[in-house]
């Protein structure tokens, strides 16, 4: 039965608070941000479980011993989750290439949990089909065999096509949610949409798609939601370690309507539908080469780095950009100067601040976002 948007959100909060990995299929594979080919895991009958850190309610006791103080928080909270038994139900872990820290985390995992399946997913940075395409196909074939072994059953092409169709549906629902948010951000606030998206890391994709559609329907029909006068902003820099929920609430309360962002980018990594005809594995390869999202962890030729941000700004009729990156996140913070320069050249207002997933004090961020929002609304034309 369809639920209201508030019931959907409450359900998402419950899942987040209990770290519940759904009514589980017998086996599940965890994965770190950003992109893994979830279709291959799903086609094996396994649950792809997204791990986006421990959030702001996890006290880190053992995790700090594994990383220096100048390393971001997500690897230490992920280790903490594992050492405290929260990830015992996972049959394996995939570590896609985000940065050196996550690469090292995969090695540490192999030493800490030698009896569990661990794989570093080395995504190609060369997008020539004859080079990167061949390499990526080989990686996916290996991953397919690994998933077959864990699931104890073969992944035939038909099952893979079915999984691709399931994730096409999921991505379409997420695209619709983003489009609706861009049209009417007061009706689909980011602080709710974030929870709806986050739930997708711990439930089967079919269930998540239904949840998103229920939420959209519920919010559309909620006539108590009034149009607000806010500044339309794009958030950038949050593709890996996620901000605390309170930070998103703070931004909205400070007068910012977030019309686009790069939260949970892996869920929207493939831009558009993956074809269902032909060789499904090759379709996955081609989609990665030709339809991947742009982000700091993926190679882009010189001059193309800011293209996605400028396009998003224009497509969503935004009025400003907020760089909101985790402390010590090398990819996000090293990319930021290039993006800032591009925004300056285009005359686009922007502001910057950092967070960690357990940031608990938002007064300074509220002040900064509030003055940024006011400056856009009151002075941008002067």
């Amino acid at each position: 039965m369809a639920c209201t948007e508030s019931e959907c959100v409450a359900d998402c909060v419950r899942r987040a608070e209990t770290l519940a990995f759904a009514d589980p299929p017998p086996h599940s594979i965890g994965y770190m941000p950003i992109y893994v080919p979830r279709e291959l895991i799903h086609a094996a009958g396994l649950l792809p479980a997204g791990l986006y850190g421990g959030g702001d309610r996890l006290e880190i006791i053992r995790g700090d011993a594994y990383f220096q103080s100048y390393i971001c928080r997500i690897p230490r909270s992920t280790i903490e989750l594992a050492l405290s038994g929260h990830l015992d139900r996972l049959d394996g872990m995939l570590f896609p290439s985000i940065c050196d820290v996550i690469r090292n985390l995969s090695g540490m995992w192999q030493m800490l949990f030698p009896d569990r399946y661990v794989r570093y997913i080395d995504v190609p940075q060369n997008f020539d089909p004859a080079v990167g395409g061949r390499f990526w196909r080989h990686e996916l074939e290996t991953l397919r065999r690994d998933m077959e072994r864990i699931a104890g059953r073969p992944i035939d092409d038909e099952a893979l096509r079915n999984s691709i169709a399931v994730y096409n549906e999921n991505r379409a629902a997420i695209r619709e949610l983003y489009a609706q948010r861009s049209r009417a951000p007061w009706r689909f606030p980011l602080s709710e949409a974030y929870l709806v998206l986050r739930a997708g890391n711990s439930v089967p994709p079919e269930e998540h798609t239904a949840l998103i559609r229920d939420y959209i329907r519920g919010a559309e029909n909620d006539l108590s939601r009034r149009e607000m006068d806010q500044s339309r902003v794009v958030l950038a820099g949050m593709f890996c370690e996620q901000p605390p929920h309170g930070l998103l609430v703070t931004l909205e309360r400070a007068g910012c309507a977030v019309v686009d962002d790069d939260l949970f980018l892996g869920m929207r990594w493939i831009q558009g539908d993956i074809p269902l005809d032909g060789d499904p594995l090759q379709n996955l390869v081609d989609a990665y080469l030709t339809a991947s999202a742009t982000t700091a962890s993926r190679y882009s030729p010189e001059g193309h780095r800011a293209k996605w941000l400028l396009e998003s700004y224009r497509r969503n009729e935004a009025e400003g950009v907020i760089f909101c990156a985790p402390s010590f996140c090398d990819p996000a913070l090293l990319e930021q100067p290039m993006l800032v320069a591009a925004l300056d050249r285009a005359g686009i207002p922007h502001t910057e601040f950092k967070y960690s997933e357990d940031t608990g004090q938002f007064a300074v961020i509220r002040e900064q976002a509030g003055t940024f929002s006011d400056s856009i609304r009151l002075w941008s034309a002067s």
């Binding site: 607000m228 806010q230 509030g370 003055t371 929002s373 009151l378 002075w379 002067s382």
Partner: protein, 267 residues
């Protein structure tokens, strides 16, 4: 002409302003005093509507400031510095700086003639030198808050009070009471100590010489006098409606935004 409302939700009072065009129609404030905040907001808003003799449907824009995110019927929210600057320019057009002294914080703001904020400095989270601190002192001395200012003016031998920490300052006050120091001298000493902090804030934020005092403590004549005595090169200005500067500024910015949004719609 555009009719708009501004609601300033502070930590000790809710202030509401109703404006039409360039004029203020009505001002009303309600102390919170452990009451349910949403009810206080709704009560203050209803009374202000009645005072202005306008209906809710007449309002083109309801703007909030302070902790106004709790006002569910708002159209937009503006940050406190922005609204106090706008309110100060309306009430005291000759000023180019604002000293906003509320129950929990004090802010020094530099602005241009259009009330655009150029720079600012804020007190930290410490309660010392805030309205809340002064309320506590009034309670220890057993006097009404309204008496604090006039009584301070009578002080002729002010006692030095810690200007750094509210806890130490409160201990100072208790010691002074037990030593038999006159309440007027205690209050005068506190006002001088607070004024010293505010002048430092102002100097750190910029060099405008005409300063509007806004916020709840703008009506404390003892504090205003202490500021004037403390700093001869700055001219401190107050207005009978200075405590409403945030609400007035929010209302004017709301009306401005309404016109911008309407012209966008029309084009």
């Amino acid at each position: 002409m555009t009719i708009a409302a501004g609601i300033d939700v502070g930590s000790s009072a809710v202030k509401v302003a109703m404006i039409i065009g360039d004029e203020v129609l009505a001002l009303h404030s309600e102390r919170i005093r452990r009451r349910e905040l949403r009810k206080v907001i709704n009560d203050a808003y209803s009374i202000a509507l009645g005072m202005a003799n306008v209906k809710e449907s007449d309002l083109a824009y309801v703007a909030t400031t302070g902790e106004g995110e709790l006002v569910e019927f708002r159209r937009g929210h503006f940050y406190g510095m922005t609204t106090h600057a706008r309110g100060a320019i309306h009430l005291l057009p000759e000023t180019r700086a604002v000293l906003d002294i509320g129950a929990l914080h004090a802010r020094a703001i530099q602005m241009d003639d259009r009330s655009r904020v150029l720079n600012y400095r804020m007190t930290s989270q410490c309660a010392s030198g805030s309205g809340q601190f002064l309320e506590n002192v009034a309670r220890y001395l057993g006097i009404a808050l309204e008496e604090v200012g006039p009584l301070s003016l009578q002080g002729d031998a002010p006692e030095t009070v810690s200007s750094i920490c509210a806890v130490l300052a409160e201990t100072d006050v208790i010691n002074m009471v037990s030593r038999g120091i006159k309440p007027a001298d205690i209050l005068k000493g506190i006002h001088i100590s607070m004024a010293g902090r505010y002048v430092k804030l102002l100097r750190a934020s910029g060099n405008a010489t005409d300063v509007a005092i806004t916020g709840g403590l703008a009506s404390d004549v003892g504090l205003v006098e202490a500021l004037r005595e403390n700093c001869a090169d700055l001219r401190f200005h107050t207005h009978p409606d200075s405590t409403y500067a945030g609400a007035i500024g929010a209302a004017f910015w709301g009306a401005y935004r309404h016109r911008v949004l309407e012209s966008r719609k029309a084009s």
